[in-house]
């Protein structure tokens, strides 16, 4: 199974205690009719009927991947059979046609083998993108598995744009599709790498995590093209990036391994100093990332793509990406509902970047157990998405300041470079929209991103 089919929604049905199909969604009804059954009669799709009986006898949910014959074809289904008091509830997703004969191979194993071809080392995550397994061979590339296991994928790799300015991974992480050829650097070492990965599925056909590979590259970090190199600011930024990333990577890696006491026990407070050094190093690395972005958005010829996007959809994806961080602080993110939609024109990746920044800030400034709301609406040709939190709010005199370079919402809070909101507003304006804030001390803050609407 190499991809999660996000296509057709699941179909529901109900089989009573006597094995009669008493309720069936359209596609289930069709397939049951073609198998010779009818509503109110014994369920005729034998592969699924077996699961129904099993769920009823065991008294627990049974979920399985089955192939169902449908005329000359085979349909691939993920079946979930839930026993309840008077029968069994069915949910069938997948609904993909398969060739009548496929070679009897273990697809998961084959995918894994193909993926590992030419790779230097591999990793696996769970559904929340935390590392659950890391190849012992990663140690040859300066990554100690013990230091990255259980941490978020994003803490291991920093993503980079390819020559076309694309980040294959960013778009697919939220929809859980396979990706390949994602340029990235290993944060701990500054090593340039290429990432590829396949999603893994659980028994219900839902996303269970990624298995991915890392290929070490000798490439340089993305170079500005010739005409841009003449700009002294660009050249400076590029040098800054290269000159800082590698040594910082080394500092963080060494501090991490001192903290982990890999070379033997040391005094506890020294181990803690090492952890402080590593987190300060990570902070500086984040700053380097922001400076590189800054260089991009401040260029006079910077033009984001004009794509048809849905702010509600991107809001949901951005909250998904931040759910782990929010969960750590027990902050709830109330994302737009599936039925909400706010069509707009802008660049998907850049809007996602802005929303990740806004929601990240909202989570950071929320009290433990607090709530972050994300709402969308359309207003006279404009699509608006609002991110509101229950933090301590921003005084009116500070509201303009926070969008300036190197300014912070709360300078006393640790972390952050003071560039995020500046970059976010530059991006919003470059896309023909704006980013504004509305807040009062003690009342939380509401950030509003507006973009040109796209009708529909």
């Amino acid at each position: 199974m190499s991809a999660v089919d996000a296509g057709l929604p699941p179909v529901h049905g109900f089989v009573d205690r006597d094995g009669r199909l008493v309720d069936a969604g359209p596609r289930l009804d069709d397939i049951n009719t073609r198998a010779g059954g009818a509503i109110g009669e014994p369920f005729a799709v034998s592969q699924v009927a077996v699961l129904v009986r099993l769920a009823q006898r065991l008294g627990i949910t049974v979920a399985r991947h089955v192939l169902v014959a449908d005329g000359p074809d085979e349909v691939e289904l993920w079946v979930r059979a839930d026993p309840v008091e008077d029968g069994v509830r069915l949910a069938l997703s997948g609904w993909r046609l398969r060739a009548p004969w496929t070679p009897p191979v273990d697809l998961a194993r084959r995918d894994r083998d193909l993926l590992l071809q030419g790779a230097d080392w591999w990793w696996e995550t769970d559904a929340t993108l935390r590392m659950t397994a890391v190849d012992a061979g990663a140690a040859r590339f300066g990554v100690t598995p013990e230091n990255v296991l259980a941490k978020p994928l994003a803490s291991l790799f920093a993503l980079e744009m390819d020559a076309e300015g694309a980040m294959p991974m960013l778009g697919v992480l939220t929809v859980r599709q396979p990706f390949e050829g994602q340029a990235a650097t290993v944060r701990a070492t500054g090593q340039a790498v290429t990432l590829s990965a396949h999603p893994t599925l659980n028994a219900e056909g839902l996303f269970a995590g990624y298995i991915g590979t890392v290929r070490a590259e000798t490439r340089e970090l993305p170079q500005p093209t010739d005409d841009r190199a003449s700009d002294p600011l660009d050249a400076f930024s590029a040098r800054l990036d290269r000159a800082l990333r590698t040594p910082l990577g080394r500092i963080i890696a060494n501090a991490d391994s001192i903290h982990a006491q890999t070379e033997g026990p040391i005094r506890h407070d020294y181990a803690d100093y090492a952890s402080d050094i590593a987190s300060a190093g990570r902070h500086l690395l984040g700053l380097v990332d922001d400076l590189v972005d800054l260089q991009a958005v401040e260029r006079p010829d910077f033009v984001p793509a004009a794509e048809r996007i849905d702010l509600a959809d991107i809001g949901r994806r951005a909250s998904g990406l931040l759910s782990v961080r929010a969960g750590e602080r027990s902050v709830k993110i109330d994302a737009p509902q599936d039925i909400d939609s706010a069509p707009a024109t802008g660049e998907f990746k850049r809007v996602l970047q802005i929303l990740v920044n806004l929601i990240g800030n909202a989570v950071r400034y929320s009290p433990d157990g607090g709530m972050v709301w994300i709402r969308t609406h359309r207003d006279r040709g404009t699509a608006v998405i609002i991110v509101a939190d229950q933090g301590k709010g921003i005084a009116p005199e500070d509201q303009a300041r926070i969008f300036d370079k190197f300014e912070r919402v709360d300078p006393s809070e640790p972390g952050g470079s003071g560039l995020g909101l500046y970059i976010a507003r530059r991006l919003a304006r470059a896309m023909g929209g704006d980013l504004t804030v509305d807040s009062a001390p003690g009342q939380g803050a509401r950030f509003m991103l507006s973009l040109p609407g796209a009708g529909g």
């Binding site: 979920a63 935390r130 061979g137």
Partner: protein
């Protein structure tokens, strides 16, 4: 066509006798092959290793001997620095000893094979078990959560298990091992066998002392605490789930396909050692159902574990399990524990009692 024997010289006669001897040997070999094929054909299906287990077992055994042999040769050479260059080369370039060890039948050692077969089946089960969705969408997997625990002992033990399982997964991908990951006694046995086989290749030489020295170092470097099995036992003991929590932790371990942890948790709850508990889980059947009930698990948890194990192994009969479920649920935890009591004795003690029984 006439054959003029007068033309045959002595050399041809010598070759002819070799040929005749070989032909006779070939007849004997054919007989032995037939006998082996007959044994193989009449082997009961439930005793036969399936192809996947057989292939993985062969890979593991090959990789295991290779890593010990490589280690021994390398260390012996470093002890020979400045010695006879021809000897160094013979140690370095010697043919792999695997075939020799297989031919002698030494590797048929029941203790070694019991461990290897069980371990292989345990590792394959990880691949074959269905991953189950978490209770709550968006919650991290069990070990990732435990690794973030405020209790440093739990966090360390969870990380150690993740790291050990990562190393074990690498074997299937690369056919390579970095260490045998055997229990100390078996590692000890294997290292001396390989050392003896290398010594046999070299004949009586001045290298004996170096090989012994190398073997002692290889033994000293082995840490059986690095094994997946030890890490799982350590984590189970550190979490030490209360009877009321056991079902949840076990279900999560199973859902995340952390087979070693599941075995260790059950063993911890019942006071049964890891190897015995692993045998029970891998064999399935009545003893496993008794163990699940003995650990105080309710009907739904027994059903969930039973179903997952049946899904992972086509030889397990899910319909039979469903038939038995009511009877299993009717056994009280005390009754179940009583029936398993002999398994809680020290495994060596049990083995000794069994030996005594055989010689009655």
């Amino acid at each position: 066509m006439s054959i003029d024997q007068g033309d045959w010289d002595e050399g041809a006669r010598a070759s002819a006798s070799t040929l005749l001897a070989r032909a006779a040997a070939a007849v004997r070999l054919a007989d032995r092959r037939l006998a082996d094929a007959i044994d193989d054909f009449f082997l009961a299906d439930d005793s036969r290793l399936d192809d996947r287990t057989r292939a993985t077992l062969a890979t593991t055994l090959t990789a295991m001997i290779a890593v010990v042999e490589h280690d021994l040769r390398r260390r012996a050479i470093t002890h020979l620095v400045g010695g006879d260059p021809a000897l160094v080369q013979r140690i370095e370039r010697g043919a792999p000893v695997l075939d020799r060890l297989v031919a002698t039948g030494l590797l048929r050692d029941p203790d070694l094979m019991r461990e290897l077969i069980a371990r292989t089946r345990q590792d394959l089960l990880v691949d074959l078990l269905p991953a189950l969705p978490p209770d709550e969408i968006g919650s991290a997997s069990l070990l990732a959560r435990l690794a973030g625990s405020a209790d440093a002992w739990v966090a360390d033990a969870a990380l150690a298990l993740m790291a050990a399982e990562s190393r074990r997964r690498g074997l299937v991908d690369s056919n390579r091992l970095d260490q045998t990951e055997l229990p100390a006694e078996l590692h000890h046995r294997l290292v001396w066998w390989v050392a003896a086989a290398i010594r046999e290749q070299l004949g009586p030489t001045s290298a004996d002392r170096m090989i012994v020295e190398a073997a002692l170092r290889v033994l000293a470097d082995h840490d059986e605490g690095d094994r997946v099995e030890s890490a799982a036992v350590r984590l189970a003991a550190t979490i030490d789930p209360q009877p009321a929590e056991l079902a949840t932790v076990l279900t999560h371990a199973l859902g995340d396909r952390r087979v070693a942890l599941m075995i260790a948790l059950l063993g911890h709850a019942l006071g049964i050692d890891f190897a015995t508990m692993r045998q029970i889980v891998l064999e399935g059947g009545e003893q496993l159902w008794l163990a699940l009930r003995g650990a105080g698990l309710d009907r739904a948890t027994v059903a969930r574990i039973g179903l997952s194990l049946c899904e992972a192994d086509p030889r397990r009969d899910v319909e039979g399990f469903a038939d038995q479920l009511e009877a299993i649920a009717a056994i009280s935890p005390d009754e179940a524990r009583g029936a398993l009591a002999p398994l809680r004795l020290h495994p060596d003690f049990r083995a000794a009692m069994a030996d005594l029984e055989k010689r009655r």
